[in-house]
């Protein structure tokens, strides 16, 4: 799985004995972020009443994320809009840049998605406790549950809450990795079946590329909307 391997670019950077070298993963993070910044730079360069195409797309992303947040987490989540927007754009662009041949998919690495998910998990927990104090623990005790089942439900709720970062990160990572691996496998079939039999897997590869672009968008959306839902739990404490 050469496409997922990380290798150093340039000199080795070591801070306090930890290897923080610039790698191809870092390079594609920078490329994705730069692509977002470039896209938004062009999209906001001319502030026209009747937008041009790129401005329209930038504004569509803006309203899309804004609507997603207000629909799932309400008006209280407005201060977190820049974070969710950055998150959505970053994941989306990393996924999309990863679709280019010979590129590297940043989000196909569990460590990357895990750090994002852990950050969200910790931040949401802190927001929850800051907003509601110890009452935030009532998130584990759903209302309208028979007293007999309550201990069991509470345990399940705690486990599900704690597994949020894992599910969030593994969902994205596994989707991206599986898609790219599948493309790789079909690409291998094209070569090994040669000119006679290679056309069928080639067709599959084309179809899968389309599917993967859909998945790239969908997973970015899912990642962002789950963040919104977790945020909603922390901001509007109700079950």
């Amino acid at each position: 799985m050469q496409q997922f391997s990380v290798h150093k670019i340039g000199p080795e950077i070591k801070i306090a004995g930890i290897d923080l070298s610039f790698t191809n993963a870092s390079l594609f993070m920078v490329i994705s972020a730069s692509a977002i910044l470039l896209f938004l730079f062009i999209g906001t360069k001319k502030k026209e009443i009747i937008p041009n195409k790129i401005q329209l797309i930038a504004e569509m992303f803006y309203t899309f994320v804004a609507k997603m947040i207000s629909d799932t987490a309400g008006s209280k989540a407005k201060p977190y809009f820049p974070f969710i927007f950055s998150l959505f754009m970053f994941v989306l662009f990393c996924n999309m840049v990863g679709m280019l041949p010979y590129s590297f998919t940043v989000t196909s690495h569990i460590i990357v998605t895990l750090i994002m998910a852990l950050f969200i998990f910790i931040a949401v927990t802190i927001i929850g406790f800051a907003k509601h104090g110890f009452k935030y623990l009532s998130i584990f005790v759903p209302s309208g549950v028979p007293a007999l089942l309550l201990p069991l439900i509470t345990v399940i709720e705690i486990i599900s809450y704690l597994s949020r970062p894992v599910s969030l990160s593994v969902r994205l990572f596994a989707n991206m990795m599986a898609g790219h691996t599948m493309l790789k496998v079909f690409g291998g079939f094209v070569i090994s079946l040669g000119l006679l039999g290679g056309w069928l897997p080639l067709g599959f590869s084309v179809a899968l590329t389309g599917l993967e672009i859909l998945v790239a968008f969908l997973q970015a959306y899912v990642f962002a909307i789950l963040t919104c839902i977790y945020l909603n739990d922390a901001l509007n404490l109700h079950h």
């Binding site: 997922f4 870092s26 504004e59 569990i110 990357v112 070569i191």
Partner: protein, 191 residues
């Protein structure tokens, strides 16, 4: 055929070489985890700050501007609509007033014309009456004159006739009396 075969072999060789490099999942190799975490946090922080401080407010402003512009335009359109409606009402009022005035002027002019005609008619009628009276007078004068003329002529004729027939000359006063007598008797026949 041979060419294709060797091409396939070459491709397979390259592919095998690629597979040789793919052992296990590089994602689970912790060698670059710290580096990835560090660069992720760095890049994402820069992205977040530049979006939150710079690009998103710009987009937000622009969207709000557009919304305001649309609202203003709609307000303006409504204002203009009301304005045009009031203008139409004004115009209709003017039209109505004009119609009323036209009717008034028509009636007035008709009345004045009628009066004029009446007065002129009266004047003419009076004149005609005067003329008629004058004419009647003239006629009656003529009549009187003609009667006396006729009497005179009759007297002369009568005296002439009497003179021719009898050879005598009667005195004029007796003839005059006789003619007057006869003409009085017979005047009704001629007039």
């Amino acid at each position: 055929m041979n060419k294709y075969f060797s091409f396939t072999i070459a491709l397979l060789a390259i592919q095998n070489d690629l597979f040789a490099a793919e052992v296990g999942m590089p994602q689970l190799d912790p060698k670059y985890w710290a580096s990835q975490a560090f660069w992720l946090i760095l890049v994402f922080s820069i992205l977040y700050i530049s979006l939150a401080k710079f690009y998103l407010p710009k987009i937000k402003n622009n969207l709000e501007n557009r919304e305001n512009k649309i609202k203003d335009d709609l307000d303006d359109a409504n204002k203009f609509k009301e304005l045009s409606e009031s203008k139409i009402r004004e115009y209709e009022n003017i039209l109505e007033n004009a119609k009323k005035e036209v009717i008034k002027i028509y009636i007035e002019s008709k009345n004045s014309l009628d009066k004029d005609i009446q007065s002129k008619k009266e004047v003419i009628e009076k004149e005609i009456e005067k003329e008629i009276i004058k004419a009647q007078k003239e006629i009656s004068d003529l009549k009187k004159n003609s009667i006396s003329d006729i009497q005179k002529i009759s007297e002369n004729i009568a005296s002439d006739i009497i003179e021719k027939i009898s050879g005598d000359k009667l005195n004029e006063s007796s003839i005059k009396a006789a003619v007057e007598d006869i003409s009085k008797k017979n005047l009704g026949k001629y007039l």
